[in-house]
């Protein structure tokens, strides 16, 4: 079943710059989609349009067959993780997690006990039990990112959006968080759209990748398929050649010392 659908979506800014051009894209229920491309390719803009932070110039975006173009961000039932974490500095971790829940009014509002249960659940899932009373500035980068993840997930969003969530972390943590994000996805089965410029991240995480360049979708396929059968020259150089280079570098480093001397 299709969860998110972009139909001929375009974004033109006031200064005339066209960030996204006629994008057609479908994301299936429970799928992990990675939007991949160099900076300025329109991947973040696509995500922000879906989130409701950016207006759609042309075309339609629908979630569960409802066109959401004119729905305010908070009503779309999405959770989002930002690159800079964007935790509320004046609130404790617990308040950061429940802030979104508390904004719900009327029948759908959870009772305090239900909220507490959700906090417990999220905290144990993300190993934040000991930090609930702390302010964000007392946490390390990895912990902050986990709080941001928890805040996005605690509302049980229909779609989870992540905008380069790992770029602020060091290599070791990035590796660790990458596995954690994939594990969470496998456990919860939340439809996830993940923006990155990092090819490795895309290969490791995605069910399918959508590769963009200059606002145009280049290829939309499972990662291995995109690697084996690049749709065009851009995908070939941006994805395949890059990965090959990495493999070659790794091989050079791993090769026994004797070989290197002989070649030189």
């Amino acid at each position: 079943m299709v969860s998110v659908k972009f139909t001929n979506v375009s974004k033109r800014y006031e200064d005339g710059f066209e960030a996204v051009k006629g994008l057609d894209l479908e994301v299936n229920d429970g799928e992990f989609l990675v939007l991949l491309g160099p900076s300025g390719c329109g991947k973040s803009t696509t995500l922000r349009m879906l989130a409701g932070l950016e207006e759609v110039t042309d075309g339609a975006i629908s979630i569960d067959d409802v066109t959401v173009n004119n729905l305010p961000a908070g009503a779309r039932g999405l959770g989002m993780v930002f690159q800079s974490y964007a935790l509320y500095p004046h609130m404790s971790v617990r308040d950061n997690l429940t802030f979104g829940l508390r904004m719900v009014k009327g029948k759908e509002r959870l009772s305090e006990a239900e909220m507490e249960a959700r906090v417990k659940e999220a905290a144990s899932m993300l190993e934040l039990q000991d930090h609930l009373h702390k302010k964000p500035k007392e946490l390390s980068g990895g912990q902050r990112q986990r709080v941001a993840l928890g805040r996005a997930l605690i509302r049980r969003p229909k779609v989870l959006l992540m905008d380069e969530p790992l770029s602020n972390l060091d290599a070791e943590l990035r590796h660790q968080m990458r596995q954690e994000i994939r594990r969470l996805h496998d456990e919860l089965g939340t439809t996830t759209i993940y923006v990155t410029h990092d090819q490795i991240e895309a290969m490791a995480l995605a069910d399918r990748v959508a590769i963009l360049d200059r606002g145009v979708l280049q290829q939309h396929a499972p990662p291995l398929e995109a690697y084996r059968a690049p749709a065009n020259e851009f995908v070939q150089s941006f994805l395949c050649r890059h990965l090959d280079d990495l493999v070659e570098t790794a091989n050079t480093l791993l090769r026994p010392a004797g070989d290197g001397v002989q070649e030189a």
Binding site: G74, M80, A86, Y88, V104, R151
Partner: protein, 414 residues
């Protein structure tokens, strides 16, 4: 390899370069003091000029490396500078100020003599030091240089502290001295009569009430306008945004006296002369530009992603502002509030012009009336002005933490 010659060229005892700085400061200070002395017609100014010139020469002839001759020249010059100062002390009748002024010549001179003849400098200037001795000297420099610098810096700063505190002490002295003379009686006998008179006078409390109403009113009304305005200027693009930001500043560039007459006419037309509201409105208008700019500057530092996160959490635009942006901006709001309060509390010209009836005076106008129309009650005046500063001082103490956070908030990212 480090050559011995290089080390030798680099090394100088800490006394030498400390002295160089001290002499430079002394020359500047003495030039200032001399011009003051010249203006009030001091008797021995020419000796002072000689002293400064010698000081300058001394500064240039301090030994650079081990040269016995230049060390001896410095010794002699230092002595001469000291003598210039001593001569002036002995030749003129002394006041506290004179003594302090001449000290600025005697002490550097004496210090030169003392240090130039000290063992480390003597050894360094008279013979070639061994590498071991230089190493020891460098270690000694490392130890002593920071202390000497700190001492010197604090000595200079102490002068500024005295300059700042002196007027306050003087006012306190006048306020505590019996009688209403401007001079005061340094050292007592003291009395609390002026304070009790002021605290017991109805007029004082009327002024205080007026001042409080006007200042608090200005603060509240100013914040109510400045906070949304600052946020709008920071976050939204609209036609005329840049122009109005600039227009705000433009109003600030005129001296207050120019807009006084138009203000008066406006207030007269509106029937707001001799009212609290009239003053509040006028103060708001004058304080607003700076408040709006300050708040805009702070709102600019609140990351946009925070607001976007709140939007996704289900906040409305207004809730984003009240639940996320405003709580984060409390330090800036506190600074702005304090600023508006102070501006209104201390303002004199507009208050004097608008509110002419006795029972509508604010404190500054009331204070002014005490030493102009109804005689020269300096004692009462001094006591009252101290009482007036008290609430502000308390406010500052209370807001200090916020103030520091607020003023430095833009610099550090959280």
């Amino acid at each position: 390899m480090m050559s011995t010659a290089t080390v030798r060229r680099w090394y100088a005892p800490v006394e030498v370069f400390t002295l160089r700085r001290w002499l430079l400061v002394s020359v500047v200070v003495n030039l200032l003091l001399l011009s003051v002395d010249l203006l009030r017609g001091g008797d021995t100014v020419y000796v002072g000029v000689l002293g400064v010139v010698l000081c300058g020469v001394l500064l240039n002839s301090l030994p650079q490396e081990h040269k016995p001759a230049s060390r001896n020249v410095a010794l002699v010059l230092g002595g001469a500078v000291m003598l210039c100062g001593l001569y002036r002390v002995l030749a003129t009748p002394l006041s506290l100020f004179d003594l302090w002024m001449h000290a600025w010549m005697i002490v550097p001179g004496a210090l030169t003599v003392l240090w130039m003849s000290s063992p480390p400098v003597s050894a360094w200037s008279t013979r070639e030091l061994s590498v071991k001795a230089i190493e020891f000297g460098l270690a000694r420099n490392q130890l002593l240089a920071p202390r000497m610098q700190a001492f010197g810096a604090h000595l200079v700063l102490l002068h500024f502290v005295v300059l700042t505190v002196l007027p306050l002490v003087w006012i306190l002295d006048i306020a505590l001295s019996p009688g209403n003379a401007l001079g005061g009686t340094l050292g007592g006998p003291y009395t609390g009569e002026h304070f009790s008179k002021m605290l017991g006078s109805d007029a004082f409390w009327t002024w205080m009430r007026n001042s409080l109403i006007v200042s608090v009113g200005t603060t509240l009304m100013g914040l109510a306008v400045a906070i949304p305005a600052g946020y709008a200027f920071s976050r939204y693009k609209f036609t005329g945004r840049d122009v109005s930001m600039f227009a705000f500043l433009l109003v600030q560039m005129f001296p207050g006296i120019i807009i006084l007459v138009p203000y008066f006419l406006v207030m007269k037309t509106l029937g707001l002369l001799n009212s609290h509201l009239g003053l509040i409105l006028a103060y708001c208008v004058t304080a607003l530009p700076l408040c709006v700019w300050m708040l805009k500057g702070f709102f600019d530092t609140v990351p946009r992603e925070l607001e976007e996160a709140a939007l996704l959490d289900g906040c409305s635009q207004f809730q984003v502002f009240t639940k996320v942006v405003l709580p984060l901006s409390l330090p800036a709001v506190a600074v702005t509030a304090l600023f508006s309060f102070l501006a209104a509390w201390n303002e004199f010209l507009l208050a004097l012009t608008f509110n002419t009836s006795n029972d509508m005076y604010t404190l500054p106008v009331g204070l002014h009336s005490m030493v102009s129309s109804t005689g020269q009650a300096w004692g009462d005046f001094a006591a009252a002005s101290l009482l007036v500063s008290l609430p502000v001082a308390l406010l500052f103490l209370f807001f200090q933490k916020f103030l520091i956070e607020g003023l430095s908030a833009g610099g550090v990212k959280g």
